[in-house]
Amino acid sequence: MTEASPIVLIVDDEVQIRRFLRTGFELNGFVVHEAATGGEAIRTATLRPIDIAIVDLGLPDMDGSEVVERIRSWSNVPIIVLSVRANEANKVQLLEAGADDYVVKPFGMAELLARVRVALRRQSRAATGEPTVVVGPLTIDLAARAVLLNGQRLALTPKEYRLLQVLAQHAGNVVTHQHLLKEVWGSIHVHDTHYLRIFVRKLRQKIEPNPEMPRILMTELGVGYRLAQMPAEGEPAWATAEAGGSEAQAKPDA
């Protein structure tokens, strides 16, 4: 994000939400396009170069998930969905439809910016073929298939490594239970969530400096798991910690 300003497309029918998002993004050096309807969003995404899209679920002309699917059908631009609480099944469905992540309304600007930066970083890592993912004390070298904690190489079983690898490929973004189960155990096990629970527990014992208080492999209840992105530097402490209100996902523990 140091070179050219990233371009964000905001899709929401509420003018006040667009307004604060525009200000928030512009203050952080983004170029902003707005769309109030799904149709407009798809047109803009087709006609203008964009680096990331923020899509609200309740649009007047079509469902947010349809916008996600339509954009995803020809573009791999990162998409972050603005969702409501208490609808985990819906979140999972959106992630499966191609959204990269979600933020629960009401949310703070810092939380959304953190998600956006993660998605952009992941995009550029994919573009440059950068093989290492660093999460705090943990380094995952995808090329060498090596995992280091504080510089010490860890011995992981093939399944544990595969699990970590899938999470690292989406570092910072949530990965659904179904996706993890399919990638690690195969499609016939997509409903065997208990496999995942046990292996996540085993993996945490190896990669977490303090397995009682996971800071690296984070839980998104009812949705999936996420390899944490560490808090960005230079943001107000409370905005980072509490931006998402009671549903804030990425914040340091008390």
Binding site: I17, R19, G24, F107, P158, L221, D253, A254
Partner: protein
């Protein structure tokens, strides 16, 4: 028309008599053969067999006929002098008279038995129809369920096409729903009937007793009448009588009367009139509630999302970088918006619970995940408390709706923080024993009185000592309790007394088997 029906019944009677005669002939042949081959002489009692068969199968007339034929046959074939109907031996005369009486009495008894049997069978069918009808009524959820139950019951009993028009049902819509085939004249009659009843039933009375109308339409004749003359809410019914002739029509109509009287009695016994009104009200309440929740969700939370988002943008704005007091204001806006959001969420959860809308999506979950997630959500409320966490690494998996349990725990922890002093200790511990997983939250706060303990899980219940000093809606623990119960667990509170802190414990069913099985399911 009357003739044809009579003819049919006569034809059937004649057939029965013919069959009876056949039986007597067969018995005679058998008896004759027996006498020739074995020399048996006393055989007239065997003629009771055709009498019994005829009585049981075809009724009293064929039975008597069988008796007469039996007497004649034995007089002719087997009583000396044979091959004449003359009987000379007084002994034989006595025998034949005895046989005749026996045949008459046995025939009548058997025929009566048969009649009763048939009656009982018919009654059984009727009863089982009525029974299944009342069962359907019992599970009927709304008015249209009740209407189609009545419709199906009548159609099954009468074996005729039946269409029921409820008081709220558009006649034409009902007819369409039944696949059409309903002439306009019938619809007109139904509408008249319905509106006639509405204006006091005077018009219906003009149409005949009980408000019946018969509408002929080319091929078919339809009977239109109110289900119950006195209860308008049961609706109007149209029955296709087919091409039936007036007399058989009459029979069918009295059958319809009987069935409708039964159905009405059932309906009244079940309080269906009341239930119909109730169901309609329930449906309307449900709709209203859904609409309210939907609009509350959207109308209140959309501006909240804008306010909260804008506050975070402002707080991070370069212009406010060195404005401490302004930043504190923005922080205030942010915090209060969050509180408002939590209150709205509680109200929505509460209405979801009281309308039975909590449907847990059960999944194998690591309780550690739920606990961490709850702690993350409460991080800020716990910031100035001394939090002690004791979560063993070998907790069994639980089969629960992780999100509901997490939300319950957030309410409990939130409550512990709300009623305790800054700097006090809050201990959160999990343990597994006896197939149960327990999570306890212990605070050193206000504690509980006996009254608190009794009422704390009630809706809108707030401890009297704190109602004035601590803000809250009184929903938190009620919601927590409902969510835990929905997951098959229970929530309990213990306290040494006021001012001595309290411990809330969540118990959930856990299993070691799934874990054990997986532990053996070794990694490759």
């Amino acid at each position: 028309m009357q003739k044809t029906v009579l003819m049919a019944s006569l034809r059937q009677q004649a057939l029965h008599l013919l069959l009876t005669l056949g039986l007597v002939v067969a018995v005679t042949v058998v008896l004759y053969a027996a006498i020739i081959t074995t020399g048996v002489t006393q055989g007239s009692a065997i003629y009771l067999i055709p009498v019994l068969i005829a009585a049981v199968r075809w009724g009293v007339v064929p039975a008597l006929f069988a008796g007469i034929c039996g007497v004649l046959a034995s007089a002719y074939f087997f009583v000396a002098p044979t091959y004449t109907l003359i009987v000379t031996d007084p002994h034989e005369v006595f025998n034949l008279i005895l046989f005749t009486f026996t045949a008459i009495i046995v025939g009548q008894l058997a025929a009566q038995l048969k009649e009763q049997l048939e009656l009982a069978r018919q009654r059984e069918v009727d009863l089982s129809d009525l029974y299944s009808f009342s069962r359907r009524l019992a599970v009927a959820f709304d008015v249209s369920d009740i209407h189609s139950a009545i419709e199906d019951h009548l159609a099954a009993v009468l074996q005729r096409k039946v269409i029921l028009f409820g008081p709220q049902r558009e006649p034409s819509a009902a007819a369409r729903r039944n696949g059409g085939g309903m002439p306009g004249a019938v619809l007109g009659a139904v509408e008249n009937m319905a509106s006639g009843h509405e204006s006091g039933g005077s018009r219906a009375a003009a149409d005949g007793p009980g408000g019946e109308t018969v509408v002929g339409d080319g091929d078919d004749i339809w009977l239109v009448r109110a289900v119950s003359p006195s209860r308008r809410e049961f609706g109007v019914i149209a029955v296709n009588l087919g091409h039936a002739s007036p007399p058989s029509q009459g029979a069918l109509r009295s059958r319809i009367d009987a069935v409708l009287a039964d159905a009405t009695a059932t309906l009244e016994r079940l309080g269906v009139a009341h239930a119909i009104g109730e169901a309609r009200m329930r449906a309307q309440t449900e709709q209203l509630r859904e609409a309210l929740i939907g609009s509350v969700s959207h109308e209140l939370r959309t501006p909240l999302a804008s306010i909260l988002g804008a506050a975070t943008v402002l707080a991070a704005a370069p212009a406010l970088k060195n404005e401490k007091s302004l930043k504190a204001l923005v922080q205030g806006v942010h915090d209060e918006t969050e509180r408002l959001n939590r209150d709205i969420q509680n109200l929505l959860d509460a209405s979801r619970i009281s309308s039975g809308g909590v449907r847990p999506h059960l999944e194998w979950t690591d309780p550690t995940d739920i606990l961490h997630s709850a702690l993350r959500s409460c991080a800020r409320r716990l910031a100035d408390r001394a939090v002690a966490i004791d979560i063993p690494q070998d907790l069994p998996l639980v089969h629960v709706d992780a999100v509901l349990v997490q939300q319950a725990l957030v309410q409990i922890i939130d409550n512990a923080a709300k009623y305790s002093q800054a700097g006090s200790r809050i201990a959160i511990a999990a343990a597994a024993r006896d197939g149960r997983l327990s999570v306890s939250v212990r605070d050193e706060g206000a504690g509980l009185t006996e009254i608190d303990k009794a009422t704390m899980f009630h809706r809108f219940e707030r401890g009297e000592r704190h109602a004035a000093t601590t803000s809250g809606s009184g929903l938190g623990l009620w919601i927590a309790n409902a969510f835990i119960t929905a997951n098959g667990g229970k929530l309990e509170a213990v306290s040494a007394g006021p001012g001595l802190g309290s411990t809330l414990t969540v118990e959930l069913p856990a299993t070691h088997s799934a874990v054990a099985q997986l532990e053996s399911d070794a990694d490759d």
